[in-house]
Symmetry: D3
Subunit: 159 residues, 6 copies
Amino acid sequence: MEKKLSHVTPAGAARMVDISAKNPTVREAIARGTVNMLPSTLELVKQNALKKGDVLAVARVAGIMAAKKVPDLIPLCHTLNIDSVTIDFKLNKSNIEITATAVSTGKTGVEMEALTAVSVAALTIYDMCKAAEKGITINGIYLESKTGGKSGTYQRKRP
Amino acid sequence: MEKKLSHVTPAGAARMVDISAKNPTVREAIARGTVNMLPSTLELVKQNALKKGDVLAVARVAGIMAAKKVPDLIPLCHTLNIDSVTIDFKLNKSNIEITATAVSTGKTGVEMEALTAVSVAALTIYDMCKAAEKGITINGIYLESKTGGKSGTYQRKRP
Amino acid sequence: MEKKLSHVTPAGAARMVDISAKNPTVREAIARGTVNMLPSTLELVKQNALKKGDVLAVARVAGIMAAKKVPDLIPLCHTLNIDSVTIDFKLNKSNIEITATAVSTGKTGVEMEALTAVSVAALTIYDMCKAAEKGITINGIYLESKTGGKSGTYQRKRP
Amino acid sequence: MEKKLSHVTPAGAARMVDISAKNPTVREAIARGTVNMLPSTLELVKQNALKKGDVLAVARVAGIMAAKKVPDLIPLCHTLNIDSVTIDFKLNKSNIEITATAVSTGKTGVEMEALTAVSVAALTIYDMCKAAEKGITINGIYLESKTGGKSGTYQRKRP
Amino acid sequence: MEKKLSHVTPAGAARMVDISAKNPTVREAIARGTVNMLPSTLELVKQNALKKGDVLAVARVAGIMAAKKVPDLIPLCHTLNIDSVTIDFKLNKSNIEITATAVSTGKTGVEMEALTAVSVAALTIYDMCKAAEKGITINGIYLESKTGGKSGTYQRKRP
Amino acid sequence: MEKKLSHVTPAGAARMVDISAKNPTVREAIARGTVNMLPSTLELVKQNALKKGDVLAVARVAGIMAAKKVPDLIPLCHTLNIDSVTIDFKLNKSNIEITATAVSTGKTGVEMEALTAVSVAALTIYDMCKAAEKGITINGIYLESKTGGKSGTYQRKRP
């Protein structure tokens, strides 16, 4: 099977792919990403969480809102109505793992919504911790899985 | 020196840091990130570039526009007037390196603008290539350097 | 029946409620609010209206546009396609009563759209009259009624 | 002194007031508002807060972000760079009092930013509690005080 | 048949037309517009295109993104989910002809999406060429054709 | 003097021009445009205006708000703080002439703000009149004059 880019015409010009002939189905996408920081920086996030602080809540809200802004951020993405977005954080010793799950009933997938939610939640954590550590690094943003739509289920292979 | 989070009150609540007493200075920030993909996927991007295609142009525009949207994306970031944003791509065998440079004259830095430009350019490349490869991974988004402002110059240390 | 908050997980974290299993129905919501001002300030609004002025038209447009911005303003609200918004003003001696009616065909209600339309129309009236009176007060923003959806019809009880 | 509406021309047409000849000064505005609900609904908010839940954090973020969206919401408001926004909640027996403080250094005041922050924080509380009580009412949104600018200091009179 | 304005009430007030009773159909709209400039300015665009430059790609992206922003730009337009947008440029000796095609499956047409895509692509060309020629003029923005919906097919008559 | 495009690098890539070294000055731009329609359609607009209707007020608000959205619409435009926007309409027998004036104190001009205000006001008139006449055409959008900035005053030559 020949691989090709769907968002450009044969002449190479950008286009929004025509989905008018597709059928609406329930679609789900799960994306992951990691924010790496010094244990001492991560300790500040944990202390804030312990005293009912807002740091992770702000990052979660930022990620959820960013999923809704995808058509405004990613030029060739379709506008779609999202049924659900959830964002989970796992705090390890020197990193925070972010998982975002997006669900939609429509003619196009929600991979970009899940990936964007992870990215903006990660950027928000960077923003809130940058006074303590400028070297924080965002790593490994990828699609974990997707279901629904004509191309069916995708599950990322473990290395 | 005690490390702390600047975007939360002592009680842990989110706040936008008060910058009214700061002086405007010229500030610059450079951020980096990498999009890893199969050589066969990257070949599609290169072929599109060869025939004057839009793939990298779309990613560049998306990154520049995203830098301007930072106050709307990252909840506690200040609105600021950006003087300049540039985005460069380096196409290697199995990845695309993205570098974004943001400049502003103001009371707060442009680190988040540069990091967001890189992130959204990377997400746009993912979007335009995902029909060919869903396993594309975004890696190593970090601040390379910043200048200006009270905290002065920061240069990321090479490992 | 136990009352609970639908927008948080059992652990307390914010989430966008999953509506993927719900059926689309026609939904309507009516919201009300009042802007209280001095009779002399209200007289200015009336004089502007008499000479075909724009004050109430601007407030009406602001309210209608705000209804469309709800997913961008209220963090956990779903994106939805609004079928109709209308905004009416009743000018009394020392207040303006605002009524907004929103209609949508979808899986989630339009209460927030109607309430937000009223709120932003009220804020716009404040903005346009604040040079004359800074003490203007917005009062009594509430949901008058809603129809459609699984929870059915709601009608606010008169005191 | 004759009272008049500054946002309309003598002919009654809407206009954005020309501030090009004004000098930038530090300006602050404080606004207030109240969300009235049943004690049993407010108990749910308190329980969520007790277990480090996100309800008030989401409302706070929504209010802060809304302050930055004022030029996009209130048609004749100027774009301005906000130096700081903070939002405080006081939980009483049957209501939540919201106070928003906005600071800016510029040629126009931040009254609308503070009032809009209160309004959207209140709407967000409504949204998160509406599954428990649809009769929640938003009351008494007003400007508490402002400082800076040519018109100087304003302090709301206590009744 | 009496002609009338659909977006105002009999009393003359603005309203968003109620489309809740309409049936979704596939709808397409094609709009055109022309950007007139000196042959020497157009030569710069052609040279940029020859060396795989971004000028037309940026204008194309701007037009596509603007089509998605219509509900936020045109006050009484409905939010809708666009299935496809494409933008084509034809470079003549002293003008660039722009054609935009928008497709949607829904209860309201996409004329405004196609017309707005043309307008913003034209404005973007102006922006990118204005350092070379300030006298560039945008002309002849009109609807070429539409299909779908209750009013059926429209085809602009040739003069 | 050699003409060139300022928004692309020598290699042809899009960039936001660096204005960090420029000095802020007061700048003004005036733009014009015309909406051509049948006299019978224009009569509907006049009748609406006669009964204090909202048609022209909605178009005026749309134009003013669009001027504030320029950085979000035109990819390489800088964010700037607008001091003033006014929009005037002149109703002739078979067309409406639109004039927009934008003022800003800053490091970059407001030509795009004035041109965009005219364009979106024109599109809004189209939207509100399209039920009566689909053949309405927008013509002659151009910059009438600009003052301020290093390039100084520009005045369009009369043909």
